[in-house]
C-alpha cells in the first residue's frame, strides 16, 4: 500500500465522480476523457505532492515547537504555553506575521529585496519533496537525489547575500558577507563526507543508500569521522548557534534580517526551520540508516523518530555553546574539518577497495 497506489486510487475515485456528473448532464465526451489514465496519473502526482508537502511543513513547524520547549527545559524554564502544551505558538507567530504591515525601506533595491525571501523559501520547499520517508512514502525516487538536494541546499547563502546587500543597511551587508564566507568554508567538508557515503553505497539514490545500510551496517559506524564532520558542517550550513554568524544577534542587530518585517520575516523564519528539517533528514538518511529499525513500528515513524532526536541534539548544542567569530569559523572549516574529511574519504575508499563493503 504505497503512497502512489493510495493516491492513484483516490485520483481514480475523484475522476469517476466528476465523470459521472458530466455523463448525467449528457456531456459524455468530457466524462469519457476524464477517466483516461493520463488525467488520473496527473491528479495522482498532484495529490502525492500535496501530501508530502503538507507533512513536510507540519514536521518543520513542530521543529519550532520542539526547539522552544527543549531549549526552555535546558534553561530550567517552561517553554511557550500558548494553546495545548504550546503547540499553537507557531500558528500564532505565522498568523501575526501575516497581518503585519508591509514595510519596504525607502532607498532599498526593491526587486532584489523581495526576491531574497522568495528564493529562500522556494529552495527550502523544493528540498522537502526530495526527502523519502519510507520505502513506499516518497515523492520522487531520483537516481541522483543526493546531488540535487545538496545543489539546492547551497543556494540559500546566496539568497542571504543578495538579501543583505539589497536592504541598504551596513549591518545587513556584513551579515550577507559573512554568509558567503561561511558557505565557502563549510561546503567542501560537507560534500567530501557525503562523497565518502556515496563511495561506500555506490549510488546517489536515497532509497538505494538506505537499502545498502539495511543490508550491511549503518554508515555511522565505519565512517564515524565522516559523521562528525558532516554534523559540524551541517550546523554551519543551517546557521545555528555555534556558527550563526549571518544572523549574529549580539553584534549585527539581526544580521541580514534586520530590514525584513512582517510576512517576509515570517517566510525567512519558516525557511530556516524547513532547512533544519531537511538537514536532519539527510543526516539520518545518509548515516543513520534512514527508516531501518525493528519492524514493530512503521518505517516512516522510525525515520521521524531519528529526525526529531537528531534535531534535539542540535538544540542541545545550541543551549551549551556560544557563538564563534568569523576568523575562528574559517579556521575550524579549513584547518580542522578539511583534513578530517579527507582522512574519512581515504577510509571509505580503503574499505571499498578491500571489499568489506
Amino acid at each position: 500500500m504505497s503512497l502512489y497506489s493510495f493516491a492513484y486510487g483516490l485520483a481514480l475515485w475523484i475522476c469517476e465522480v466528476i465523470a459521472w456528473v458530466f455523463n448525467t448532464i449528457g456531456a459524455t465526451g468530457i466524462g469519457g476523457w476524464l477517466v483516461t489514465p493520463g488525467v488520473v496519473e496527473f491528479l495522482q502526482i498532484i495529490i502525492v505532492a500535496l501530501i508530502v508537502f503538507i507533512v513536510g511543513f507540519l514536521v518543520s513547524i513542530t521543529f519550532i515547537w520542539e526547539e522552544r520547549k527543549v531549549l526552555g527545559r535546558l534553561m530550567d524554564r517552561r517553554g511557550t504555553q500558548v494553546g495545548f502544551l504550546g503547540l499553537f505558538q507557531n500558528f500564532a507567530d505565522g498568523l501575526k506575521a501575516f497581518i503585519k504591515e508591509i514595510i519596504i525601506p525607502k532607498d532599498v533595491d526593491k526587486w532584489v529585496y523581495d526576491a531574497a525571501p522568495v528564493i529562500l523559501i522556494g529552495i527550502s520547499c523544493f528540498m522537502i519533496g526530495l526527502i523519502p520517508w519510507g520505502p513506499d512514502f516518497y515523492l520522487a525516487n531520483l537516481t541522483n537525489g543526493v546531488l540535487l538536494v545538496f545543489a539546492a541546499f547551497s543556494i540559500a547563502p546566496f539568497a542571504i547575500l543578495i538579501g543583505g546587500w539589497a536592504s541598504n543597511n551596513k549591518y545587513t551587508v556584513m551579515g550577507g558577507m559573512r554568509a558567503a564566507g561561511q558557505l565557502i568554508s563549510y561546503e567542501v567538508p560537507l560534500l567530501l563526507s557525503v562523497a565518502s557515503v556515496v563511495v561506500l553505497s555506490g549510488s546517489l539514490n536515497f532509497l538505494v543508500i538506505v537499502q545498502q545500510q539495511q543490508d550491511s551496517v549503518w554508515y555511522i559506524f565505519p565512517l564515524i569521522i565522516g559523521f562528525i564532520v558532516f554534523i559540524v558542517a551541517l550546523i554551519a550550513e543551517i546557521e545555528r548557534i555555534p556558527f550563526d554568524l549571518p544572523e549574529a544577534e549580539a553584534e549585527l542587530v539581526e544580521g541580514w534580517m534586520t530590514e525584513y518585517g512582517g510576512m517576509r520575516f515570517g517566510l525567512v523564519m519558516l525557511a530556516e526551520y524547513v532547512r533544519a528539517y531537511v538537514a536532519c533528514s539527510i543526516a539520518v538518511l545518509l548515516f543513520l540508516g534512514g527508516w531501518s529499525g525493528p519492524s514493530f513500528i512503521w518505517p516512516e515513524v522510525w525515520f521521524l523518530l531519528k529526525v526529531f532526536l537528531l534535531f534535539a541534539f542540535f538544540i542541545w548544542v545550541r543551549g551549551a555553546l556560544l557563538r564563534v567569530t568569523t576568523k575562528q569559523i574559517l579556521g575550524i572549516g579549513w584547518k580542522r574539518l578539511m583534513p578530517l574529511a579527507l582522512v574519512n574519504l581515504g577510509i571509505a575508499i580503503a574499505l571499498r577497495m578491500t571489499g568489506v563493503f
Binding site: 531549549l71 535546558l74 534553561m75 530550567d76 524554564r77 551596513k170 549591518y171 556584513m174 548557534i241 555555534p242 550563526d244 554568524l245 549574529a248 544577534e249 549580539a250 553584534e251 542587530v253 543551549g319 551549551a320 555553546l321 556560544l322 557563538r323 564563534v324 567569530t325 568569523t326 576568523k327 575562528q328
Partner: protein
Amino acid sequence: MAEMWLNMGPQHPFTHGLWNLRVKLDGETIVDADPIVGYLHRGWEKLAENRMYPQIIPMADRLCYGASMSWEHLYCNTIENMMELEVPDRAKYIRTIVLEAQRIGSHLMWLAALGTDLGSYTIFLYSVRERELFLDLMQNLCGARMTYNYCRIGGVRNDVPANFERDFDRVLTHFLNRMNDLESLMDRSSVFRLRMEDTGVISGEQARNLGVTGPNLRGSGVEYDVRKDDPYEVYGDLDFRTCFEKEGDSFARYRVRMDEMRESCNIIRQAIKRMPKGPYRLKPPRNAPKGKTGWAHVEDPRGEGFMYVIGNGDDHPYRLKVRSPIFVTVSAAPVMLIGYKIADVPAIMGSVDMCLGETDR
C-alpha cells in the same frame, strides 16, 4: 579600502544601557572608536542640590541600578565623613554583608549580559536564576528587589530579620555549587576561551594612566583594591584575598570577577560570624555647616566609586559630585577596541561590565 563609520547605536543588543559606540571599520577590523554617552543624562547632581540629605538616598539607588546598595552606602559614607559621625559597629557589619551580597548580584547581572553578548542564552538564564536568590535575600532584609533605600546616614534602616544567618548560609552554599556549573559552562568550553582570550588587551600601565579601576584594572595585573588599601566599614578586620590576573585581556577580567564572587561569599561568612549585638543606627544632625566638605571612595563592583560633598548651612548640600567608574572606563574603550574585529566588540565591552545609569548621571 574605504573605511566606514558604523553606529553601534543607542538601540543595539550589545549595549547594556544606552550609549552609541561609533566605530570606524576597515572591512571588519576596528580602526578607530568614538564612544558617545549622554543618552541617560538627567542632571543628577543638580537635582541633588534641591533635595534634603535623607531624600537623596533613594536617588543614589538609581545611579547604577545594577549595584544600587553600593551607591547608597557610598552616599551615606560621604555625608558621615562630612558630618564626622561614627557609625555603630552592628551597622558596619550589616553594611559589609549587604554590600558583598550586592557585589555578587551585580557580578551575576554582568555575567548574564556577557552571556547574551556571546550568543549563549543559557548563561543569561543560569546567572539570572542565581541572582534571583540574592534578590530574595535582599528583599527579606530591605523589602525591595533592586532599589533598596536601606542605608541611612549614621547606620541602616532596620535590623536583620529572623533566621537571617540561616538564609544567607543556605543561599551561599547553594550558590557555590552552582558556581561550578557556571564555570564548567564557560571556563572549560573552548569556544568561550577562543572568544575571550587575548581580545581587548590593556596593559597595567595604560590602565592606571587612563583611570580604569576595579576588576578591569585588576585584570591587567595591578593589585589595587579600595577595600584592602583604604579600608572602610569593617574590611580592615576581615582577611580576604585581592583577586587579580596578569594578562589584561577579556578572559582575565572575567576570571577576576568570578574569583571575586567566591571571595565575597567568604567575606559574608566571616562578617556574619563576627556580627556584634547593639544599636544599628544613630540620629544624624539635620543641617551641615556651610562650606564644610567631605568625600569618600568605595570599591563598587564596577570600579572606584567616589562622592564629594560641600555643606550649605541648611539641610541641602551645596554641591554633590559623583565619580562613576564606568564613565572613565568608557573613555578608555578605544584603547581596548582598536585592532580587533567587530565580532570581538561584544566580548570586550561585555567584559568591561557597563552600567550607563552612573555614567551619564
